[in-house]
């Protein structure tokens, strides 16, 4: 039997200490935690900043790591520092080093890098080894060149190497969520179908339980021809429904999950209620790929953003707002010869659904003037001018000549700093494992 404890669905969200202690007390073989994603947008990969900052990362890592070391249980982190680039790994390792120093710990850490050199990505691109991901726009050479960081989602191989080297702590760069949890049981010879299916569910922590939470722990163990799921927190349960429904989450296809080394097919998966809080699962199939396929992610710098927030309440102005905004945009384009992007966001009208909006009820609009330009001071200047044009715009039938808009803040302009956009989200048909560097550090 192999038993895994998933600390939580996302490191940095605040874990449940009692659940962790109860879970690790069950005699687990390893503890895992996913620390990253692309869900919060391109900023983190592009800028090199962690999403969970030093304090948030440290408070979720310190106690569970110390307790795992005491028991000789390997602790495995995937997608460290959120985006999992080299710079994220160094920032994450600063936290680890402080924890080690302050608690006088002795341990072996394996750090696995999955950031790719641009030259390598260009070479792969030119040899036709990079393709679209499920129909997204094809990659262009400039997308690669403009990227500040490009990472690959590593599969399970380097995790296994780190564990076989005797790592007490594995700190992996960008990785598939399931690989964090698949490495150990695969090394122990468990059935890959069970391993991958369990890994795919427990990576989200107690999100597959009822009530669901990504900030709580989940136990998963493989025994014989099935695996079992149970939340250590007694106020939660795993049910056949909650476990099954989890296959839908964030996955475009509910029956098929792709990993670098193979495909997990869930069509014949069976879920049974084992006891009140435990589900027994079996029946999924794993098909190993002949050659691995990796997903790569890149982000590029797009400029600096300044925004201004203002409220519009006058019904006559709201009626004419689209044409007013068009007019102000035209004027700005004429006035400023520099490259910039001006976006008006009309909250209360279509700020959320954009072209899909169907409801025309309206009495107030929260307008965001959003300017991105190549320098912060240019974005600020353009935003400021557009804001004042709207403030004093003399629209047809205007009777209130004070100001057209309500500003909640002084100053109205807010500098937002650097802006990034995703530039790469594609598949590579090449064995990238040999490019992932494994660093051994003894403390």
């Amino acid at each position: 039997m192999v038993k895994a404890l998933s600390l939580m669905g996302q490191l940095g969200y605040g874990y449940n200490k009692n659940s962790f202690l109860k879970g690790i007390g069950e005699g687990v073989d390893f503890v895992g935690v996913d620390a990253g994603s692309i869900d919060s947008g391109p900023y983190f990969l592009g800028s090199g900043n962690m999403k969970a900052n030093y304090d948030a990362t440290r408070s979720d890592l310190e106690f569970p790591l110390i307790e795992s070391l005491k028991r000789g249980v390997p602790f495995i982190v995937g997608s460290a520092g959120y985006a999992g680039g080299d710079v994220h790994l160094s920032k994450f390792m600063e936290v680890v080093e402080d924890i080690v120093k302050d608690n006088k710990l002795h341990l072996k850490v394996c750090v696995i890098h999955s950031e790719l050199e641009k030259d390598l990505v260009l070479k792969l691109f030119r040899s036709g080894k990079i393709r679209s991901y499920e129909g997204n726009p094809p990659l262009a050479e400039e997308d690669i060149i403009e990227s500040t960081h490009i990472v690959a989602q590593m599969g399970v191989k380097k995790f296994m190497e780190a564990l076989s080297l005797g790592a007490d702590l594995v700190v992996a760069g960008r990785a598939t969520d399931a690989s964090i949890y698949a490495a150990y049981p695969l090394m122990k010879g468990c059935d890959p179908s069970l391993v991958w299916h369990m890994a795919k569910i427990i990576e989200c922590g107690a999100l597959c339980a009822k009530p669901a939470s990504p900030s709580d722990a989940l136990l998963g163990w493989i025994d014989g021809d099935a695996f079992y799921l149970m939340p250590p927190n007694e106020t939660r349960r795993c049910t056949t429904d909650s476990a099954m429904a989890h296959a839908l989450y964030e996955n475009t296809n509910p029956f098929v999950i792709e990993e670098p080394d193979g495909t997990l097919i869930l069509e014949n998966a069976r879920y049974e209620q084992f006891d009140d809080r435990t589900v027994r699962v079996s029946g999924a199939e794993w098909k190993e790929r002949e050659k691995p396929t990796f997903k790569i992610e890149g982000a590029k710098f797009s400029g600096y953003r300044t925004i201004a927030l203002m409220g519009i309440r006058n019904p006559d102005m709201i009626e004419l707002l689209d044409s007013i905004l068009e007019d102000v945009r035209d004027e700005a384009l004429k006035m400023f010869q520099t490259q910039f992007k001006l976006t008006f966001r009309q909250y209360g009208k279509n700020g959320v659904l954009s072209d899909l909006e169907f409801d025309n009820r309206l009495h107030e609009i929260g307008l965001v003037v959003d300017v991105v330009a190549e320098e912060q001071r240019i974005a600020h200047k353009i935003c400021s001018v557009v804001k004042s044009r709207l403030q004093h715009y003399d629209y047809r039938g205007r009777i209130a000549t004070g100001a057209n808009v309500a500003f909640p803040y002084s100053p109205a302009e807010i500098d937002m700093g650097e802006v990034y956009e995703f530039s790469v989200y594609h598949l590579v048909d090449e064995d990238l494992d040999r490019y992932f560097r494994l660093e051994e550090i003894e403390f």
Binding site: P42, N136, A245, L248, S302, V372, Y420, E421
Partner: protein
């Protein structure tokens, strides 16, 4: 009956940078079967202005699932919903 009255869960979410996926989990088998007969792939294409979508009928979960490419990558300059968490809204009041 409106779709929102027939479901336990009606949610949308980004699946990676370029895709939106919508899960429609019905309260029971009966409501699922009614909706399954009524909600066609064409209807979803029209609602989301898409020429192509993936449509899954998950009988074991009483769930319909729709996935499609978004017009702009998550978090791009004009994107309004990075997590894609509001794409279910046009479905709430559909009559089933």
């Amino acid at each position: 009956m409106k779709l929102k009255e027939a479901v336990k869960v009606l949610r949308s979410k980004n699946a990676g940078v370029w895709h939106i996926t919508i899960d429609i989990v019905f309260k029971n088998r009966e409501l699922y079967e009614v909706a399954k007969a009524k909600l066609t792939k064409e209807l979803f294409c029209e609602l989301f202005s898409k020429e192509e979508i993936d449509y899954f009928r998950c009988d074991n979960l009483n769930t319909l699932k729709v996935s499609f490419l978004r017009d702009k990558a998550a978090g791009s300059l004009e994107d309004t919903d990075c997590l894609g968490a509001n794409f279910y809204i046009p479905l709430m009041d559909i009559e089933i």
